[in-house]
Every structure is written in structure tokens, then in C-alpha cells.
Amino acid sequence: MSETLLEVRELRKHFPVRRGLLARTVGAVRAVDGVSFSIAKGETLGLVGESGSGKTTTGRCVLRLVEPSHGEIRFDGADLRALDSESMRRMRRHMQIVFQDPYGSLNPRMRVETLIGEPLEIHEPSMKKVERRVRVASLMERVGLSPDQMRRFPHEFSGGQRQRIGIARALATSPKFLVLDEPVSALDVSVQAQVINLLQDLQRDLGLTYLFIAHDLAVVEHISQRVVVMYLGKIMEEASRDEIYARPQHPYTKSLLSAVPVPEPGAKRSRIQLKGDIPSPAAPPPGCVFQTRCPIAQERCRVEEPLLVDAGEGHRVACHFPG
């Protein structure tokens, strides 16, 4: 394994639930509950999960856009949670984020030039305006936009082009690491493929490291070298891409994979139908968080939480009865 760029240990984010006149804390939403993983330089780690799994909060905690309640985040050797706000601000140029919604995440009143150039204004205030413009033009070309559209506003672009603007903005400070939070979920199929290819080209050419967060398993499989599956704030399974898709060990991963509709009519498949709904992260079930929906749950699962254990070659599974 090559050098580790990001290491997350025992990450927790509990959002307090307040009630009543005095807004007393009556409980906590355990959005992320003890998550550990690491990403090697140049690698893409796919983070998969359904609503409420904590995948988005995990991505934001890693960048300290949301302050974690507990845990350690090591980025390029630095302990991020030990940094003061000024040092953290300086660190941010190396770690950026691309959001899902290319409509909501770009200020509609800013021209593309300002949108893409803004991170440079913040992180390289000494840069001259003309230099910045040259840099914006080259970023636009890099992501497949025409620099002569620099004076336009976001609404003049299609969804796919807007996502390219978001990517160019994230790349402005030449980061080493990108959190990609559902970057293609809002896009049409034909455009989605273009953006996925672009992200792969950028990674290869710029040596970027990605945390790719998505709910679409086919997209994650396509882009990731390793995959982490989350459910209710916890990691259920982690393995290399080939391993997790060929030999899933956790019943949740298996049902997730079997639930994806495949574009092959008449394809033989045995769907593992999960019962019920995802429980509220404010009141996770005791024992294994997946036990209320698990097709193979037994008494032990209701009382004892399974640990995430390595079954060999970095294939980690949190299940009493894997396989």
C-alpha cells in the first residue's frame, strides 16, 4: 500500500436533539458513530449508503465543515482537529469539496470568473487580477469549459456544465484531496458519464485523491478502488472494489447490491428484500444497527454490537455471521 493521505479514526458526530422552552438536550442524532478509514495518495475511496447512513456528514467532518464530536483526522501528517482556525483555513486549500447540486451550490449572482477565482482570492490574496484571470481560463479549459464563457452567470449553463464549474472552483487552489459528495446524482445519464470521465482524467493528470460519496453502486464501483458501506452512522463493510462486488460478506451490502435494477432484461437475480425502514439515527436499535432489517439476524445481534474486523487483505466486516 502506498502512502496514506487521509486517516480517520473513531470519528463521531452527534447532533443534539433539543426540546422544550429551555431547549434542553434530550438526546442525540448519532449521524456518524465511530467511523475509521484511510485513503492512500492517488486513491479513490467510495463511500456508499442510503439516506441517514451518515456518508455526507462523514465527508463534511473530514474537512471540518462540520465539527466532529469525537475522533481523529490526520491529513498529510497533520492532526486536523488540533489546528486552530487560521491553520485550518490555510489547510483547506489542499482539501476541497464538490457538492451534489450544481444549481444550489453556485451563487447565482456571481459570474463564472468570480466563482472559480474566489478560492484564489481567499488563499492567494497577493495574486494579481490578471494572473487570476489566466488561471481561471486554464481551469475552465481543464474541465472542458470554454474560457470565453467566463463572464456568464451559472443559470446560462446546463446541469453538467454547472457541475464542471463546481469542479473547476474546487481545483482552483490546486488541492491534493477532493470530497466528491454525490457529484453526478443530479445529472442525466449521458452527462453523468462525461463528468465521471472528467473526474478520472483529473485524478490521473493531477494526482488527486478522492473521497467519492454516492448512493449509486454502479457509479461507485466504476470510479473507486476501495469501497466503504455505511448504515446508520457505522461502517458495515469495507473492501477493495473487486472484492466487495464479487464477494460481499455483510448481509446489508448483499441486499444493497441485489436491489440495484440492472439494465439487462431477463437477468437472473435473487433479490434480498429487506423488511421495514431505516430506523431513525436518533434512536438506533441496540446491538447491531442493522438487526431490525437483517434477513439473518439472531438473538446475539440484538444484544451485542459486532465489531468491524479484518477478514484478510483489508476486507473488513461488521457482522456476527458474515459470508
Binding site: V189, S190, E221, H222, L257, S258, P261, L274
Partner: protein, 346 residues
């Protein structure tokens, strides 16, 4: 399956029981925008047989949802149906007055939408909403409607229907809300269910349950389903036939197995090739160059021509007709003949 309130299967006045459940002929829908009139649906024709599931597929702006809303005449004010027919069992719904139309909407033809939270009334109980179509269309009493609502919630497999009937939408999960909406759609035993992206807002494990439910209802109730979706995986699993739309026109109409095995239109081929697939091994996705054009600035001739890998000299100058393309498929492409269509707006 029990049925406490009488249903009205069979032909009504003006209908022909031997005609298809639904047949669209040359449907055209325009929108008034600040930049003038645009044609969102341009000459769409297809038919759905008894118990058939037809997919209407395409990317944003292709006109699939506008087509669906036109069938029930639920279009926004800025839209106008400027031509064509929508025939239910042979009867043209577009020729009916609003009062007569109400006997079809929510009764013979029901519709479910993508977002159950915004489609359900937040201040009415689930039971009142599921029973409402019966109160309106069947003159059911409160008690009858409630009794039937419990049965319907049972049919859509909402656990503990007897107590859930008094819940409000916010007390249900997304998947359960979509089930409640399906129950409401089934209240009057419709022959046709229009499902507009019914699982797009749901997680994949919940989606699987809803699709399974729809498939079993189709079988047990003999429902015909018009499924509007952008998800080709769902098309492959759920439907027998698919109509692919691009910029308001049908570009391909085929049996689903043929569509996936032998897509005829270059757009359909491009779409299928650009899908990331589980365990495909391919490390680079094939793409369709460019973007879907703006309906206000459509390319001349075949609207797909600027993106098409099979571009021929004729393509920018004439609109191809929907032509037989082999294997029972029809495609709007000059690869399959030289028949042309009159230009848009003509």
C-alpha cells in the same frame, strides 16, 4: 382480494371495450415562455394494451412528464395541447368537458408522482386521503371509505394498516408514503396507473420494495402501467415495451428485450453505452458528446444530429419519420429509410 365498494370495470358510454386502454395519437403540447412558444411534446403516439407495462424513457426535458400530465389534463396554465388525441378505450379524453373528465381522473386512470411528501396533503390523515377518491367518485360514506382505506393500505403492504390509517403523512417514512399514495391511486380500481418517477426519491432498498409491489399489483389487479422514468435498469426489470423520447419526440419504440439487445437509434445506443454497470470491468465510460439542446434553440432536421456519431448529410436538413428498424422496433432515424416528417411548428 376483497372489494367492499363496487367498481365499474367494463365499457362506459362512448367507450369501446375492445380498444386499447390508452392510445395517444399525434399528441402536441406547447408552452408559452418569455422567449415565445416552445413545443415540449411533438406528435407523440403510442398505445398501451390490457395489463401491459410501458416505459416512457428519456432525460430531463424530453417531454416524458408533460406527456403523462397531458393524459390526465393536469398541465400547468402556460401549457396548451395543440393537437392530437388521447383515447381511453377509444374515447377521446381531450374532447371531454372538465366535468366528464373527472370521471376518468383518479377513477379509470390514476397517477402517482415522484415525491409523495409534496403530493400528499400534510394536514389530512392517510385514511382520509386514501378514501377520498371513493367519497368523490363512488359516493362512499365516511365509514365505507375508511373501511376500504384500511383494506387498501393492507393491499399495499403497509404494516398495521388499522392504526396507520389515522396517521398523518409526516409520521410515515418515504417508502410508506409512496405506498400510501399507491393505495390512494388504487381506491377506485383504475385500469391504468401512470407512475411518474415513482421511486426516484427513494433509497435503493426501498425502491426495490415499491417496484415489487407495483409488479404484484399489476398481476393481481390486471393493471396497465405507464411508467415514466430515466432509470434504464427499472425499465429492463419492469416493462415489456419502451418508448424513448428526445426533445419532445419519440425516437425509438421497441420491446424492452430488443431495445437492450439491439438498440436502433444512435441516441438509445449512446444512452445504454454510457451507463456504468456493476462488474462490467470497463474503466472508461462511453459518452454522448454535447448536451441535450434547449427546446427554444433546437437544431434543424433531426434534433440529435449535432451529437450523433452516425451523422449523414441529410440529418441536419430533414426530420426523419419514425420508421420500422427491424426486430419489431421503430426508430426515428435515416439509418432505416428516408421517410421524413414535417418540420416542427408546421
Amino acid at each position: 382480494m376483497t372489494d367492499s365498494v363496487s367498481t365499474t370495470r367494463g365499457a362506459r358510454a362512448g367507450e369501446d371495450a375492445t380498444a386499447p386502454v390508452l392510445e395517444l395519437r399525434g399528441l402536441r403540447v406547447g408552452f408559452d415562455t418569455d422567449d415565445g412558444r416552445i413545443t415540449a411534446v411533438d406528435g407523440v403516439s403510442f398505445a398501451i394494451g390490457n395489463g401491459e407495462a410501458l416505459a416512457l424513457v428519456g432525460e430531463s426535458g424530453c417531454g416524458k412528464s408533460v406527456t403523462a400530465l397531458s393524459i390526465l389534463r393536469l398541465l400547468p396554465r402556460s401549457a396548451r395541447i395543440s393537437g392530437g388525441e388521447v383515447r381511453y378505450r377509444g374515447r377521446d379524453l381531450l374532447a371531454l368537458d372538465e366535468h366528464a373528465m373527472r370521471a376518468y381522473r383518479g377513477d379509470r386512470i390514476a397517477m402517482i408522482f415522484q415525491e409523495p411528501m409534496t403530493s400528499l396533503n400534510p394536514v389530512m390523515t392517510i385514511g382520509d386521503q386514501v378514501g377520498e377518491p371513493l367519497r368523490i367518485h363512488r359516493d362512499a360514506s365516511r365509514a365505507e371509505a375508511r373501511k376500504r382505506a384500511v383494506e387498501l393500505l393492507d393491499i399495499v403492504q403497509i404494516p398495521d394498516a388499522r392504526s396507520r390509517v389515522d396517521d398523518y403523512p409526516h409520521q410515515l417514512s418515504g417508502g410508506m408514503r409512496q405506498r400510501a399514495m399507491i393505495a390512494m391511486a388504487l381506491a377506485c380500481s383504475p385500469e391504468l396507473l401512470i407512475a411518474d418517477e415513482p421511486t426516484t426519491a427513494l433509497d435503493v432498498t426501498i425502491q426495490a420494495g415499491i417496484l415489487e409491489l407495483l409488479a404484484s399489483l399489476r398481476k393481481s389487479l390486471g393493471l396497465s402501467i405507464l411508467l415514466i422514468t430515466h432509470n434504464l435498469g427499472i425499465v429492463a426489470e419492469f416493462c415489456e415495451r419502451a418508448v424513448v423520447m428526445y426533445t419532445g419526440r419519440i425516437v425509438e419504440d421497441a420491446r424492452v428485450d430488443t431495445l437492450f439487445r439491439e438498440p436502433k437509434h444512435p441516441y438509445t445506443r449512446g444512452l445504454l453505452a454510457s451507463l456504468p454497470r456493476l462488474s462490467s470491468g470497463a474503466r472508461r465510460l462511453s459518452t454522448i458528446p454535447g448536451v441535450v439542446p434547449d427546446l427554444r434553440k433546437l437544431p434543424t432536421g433531426c434534433t440529435f444530429n449535432p451529437r450523433c456519431p452516425e451523422l449523414m448529410p441529410i440529418c441536419p436538413s430533414a426530420v426523419p419519420a419514425l420508421m420500422p428498424a427491424g426486430g419489431g422496433s421503430r426508430a426515428r432515424c435515416f439509418l432505416y429509410g428516408d421517410a421524413t416528417e414535417t418540420e416542427r411548428g408546421a
